[in-house]
């Protein structure tokens, strides 16, 4: 059947989730830009929520931005507990506003997690890729490091 090709077409569609994770493993932070209204989305979206067009183009992000909101987590999910994070050793996650305007949630590195109230919204950050084991597979995750 000619539909056999559907599996690879969908897996390789650059606007779907599988491709986004593949880009990250290659050290690329990808988004999509709407050809009609110009809005940029990260991860890439196949359909623009503003004008509902499918006319999207892929766009690489520079990976620079500023911290827009954050938290310091002491009670994490098993994945983070396995990495050694706990009440005594918490970690920071937050929302980064990229220079291109899109926002993304990611791990935040290079901030003092012992003084969470001192972490400043607006702190400039730059993307960094982390390799971690997850469900027995090596996976690449995006993180952002604070530039002080």
């Amino acid at each position: 059947m000619a539909l056999e090709g559907e599996f690879t077409r969908i897996a390789e569609n650059e606007f779907y989730s599988a491709a986004y994770e593949r880009f990250i493993s290659q050290g690329k932070l990808m988004g999509s830009k709407c050809r009609k209204c110009g809005t940029i989305y990260v991860p890439p979206r196949p359909i623009c929520p503003k004008c509902h067009t499918h006319e999207m183009e892929l766009m690489a992000m520079k990976g620079k931005g500023k911290l827009a909101a954050y938290t310091v987590i002491t009670v994490g999910p098993p994945m983070m507990v396995e990495e050694g994070f706990n009440r005594e050793s918490p970690y920071c996650s937050g929302v980064v506003e990229l220079e291109e305007g899109a926002r993304i949630t990611a791990r935040i590195l290079g901030v003092d997690v012992t003084k969470p109230d001192q972490i400043k919204i607006g702190t400039p950050v730059t993307v960094e890729y982390q390799e971690r084991m997850h469900d027995g597979e090596k996976m690449t995750f995006t993180a952002f490091r604070a530039l002080s």
Partner: protein, 424 residues
Amino acid sequence: MFLRKRKLGRGVAVVGVGITKFGVYPKGVKASDLFVEAFDEMKRSVNKGLRDEDIEAFYIGNFSSDIFEKQVHCAATVVSRVGLVPKPAVKVENACASSGVAFREGVIAVASGIYDMVVAGGMEKMTNLSTTQVTETLGLALDPICEFPAGETFPGIFATMATAHMAKYGTTVEDFMRIGIKNHYNAGLNPKAHFDVSVKDFMKRRAASAVKKGLPEPHWADEMEFLHDPAQNPIIAWPMRLFDCSTVCDGASCVLLVAEDIAKDFTDKPIYVIGTGQGSDYPVHEREDMTSIKATKEAARQAYEMAGVSPKDIGVAEVHDCFTIAEILSMEDLGFYKAGEAVRALREGETNLDGKLPINMDGGLKAKGHPVGATGTGMVVELFMQMRENAGPRQVKRKDIDLGLMLNFGAHGSTAVVNIFERR
């Protein structure tokens, strides 16, 4: 045409309610057992009685019986356990908004004319798992592409919204603590609450337990000082501390919905459903404004328009305080207060039981507890009791409570459902 004002096909009323004590039940207890308890209480609450066989369908909210109890298809189990085979049952899963949405679906079904009488309810048995496992299970409602890899949790996501609110409006950690103090006070008057103790009572208990262990008796000047003590109130996800987080527990709740024209056959004091609305939203990072939830605004707009009322008409409200920041966001998104102004009302006690607009009279998710699937219809139970002036020691002071509102979130507010009630 899509913005045409919507209305219910016919009137719908709540004529009976039931709820279990929320808390930690032993491992062998099943969510469906808890539902039977709530169902039994609901039947006893119907003033003029009902015949079980007249119930035509069930709408059951449940988040994750599959992971919590290793059982799927729990709505049909409920029908079997309450002895009403072969009545149809629908399971509704909208994360923490499951039974709020189940209730709305029940209302829509009766309003459509397809049924005259349905039960809407919800249940969850969460405590068989460890805290880490519960955190992971609830976290399955997060965005898997960005939030999950970031190590996010629900306390973390709401904490993130909290830092955005603090930066934009000057909201403080003490404001969050005020919500916790209020909701624990209310829960202290609610024997069905998981933590039916005020923060003051907690302080007395902790002091007594220290003395019992031969330790020096701790002293805190007031509740704020206690809540600032990291030994008593540790950070879970800064700025959310333990007393900012709803409790993990088990429970069930249910209500009986009937067509308005037969409501008086069941009670002389039905509570009518006059508005309902629901909305969706993006994960937090994709929202234009991280201090507001679009789903709430949309659900509220639909419900207010349908009911023909405005926020200032509402006398009592039950809102989704899964974390204390969420109550503040809700007060603003529902239009009770302008953006950034909810904390003023909070500081002045306006939302206390004796205030101008009492909120979370039952102790909220914070202290009554949050057995996820049972939460939405649990809010309806409280409004029913308050609006019939039957809430005992936690009955609100104000008398003009002809209109009540509930807001139930799923996940980070990526679902919100609002229902508005009237007594006549």
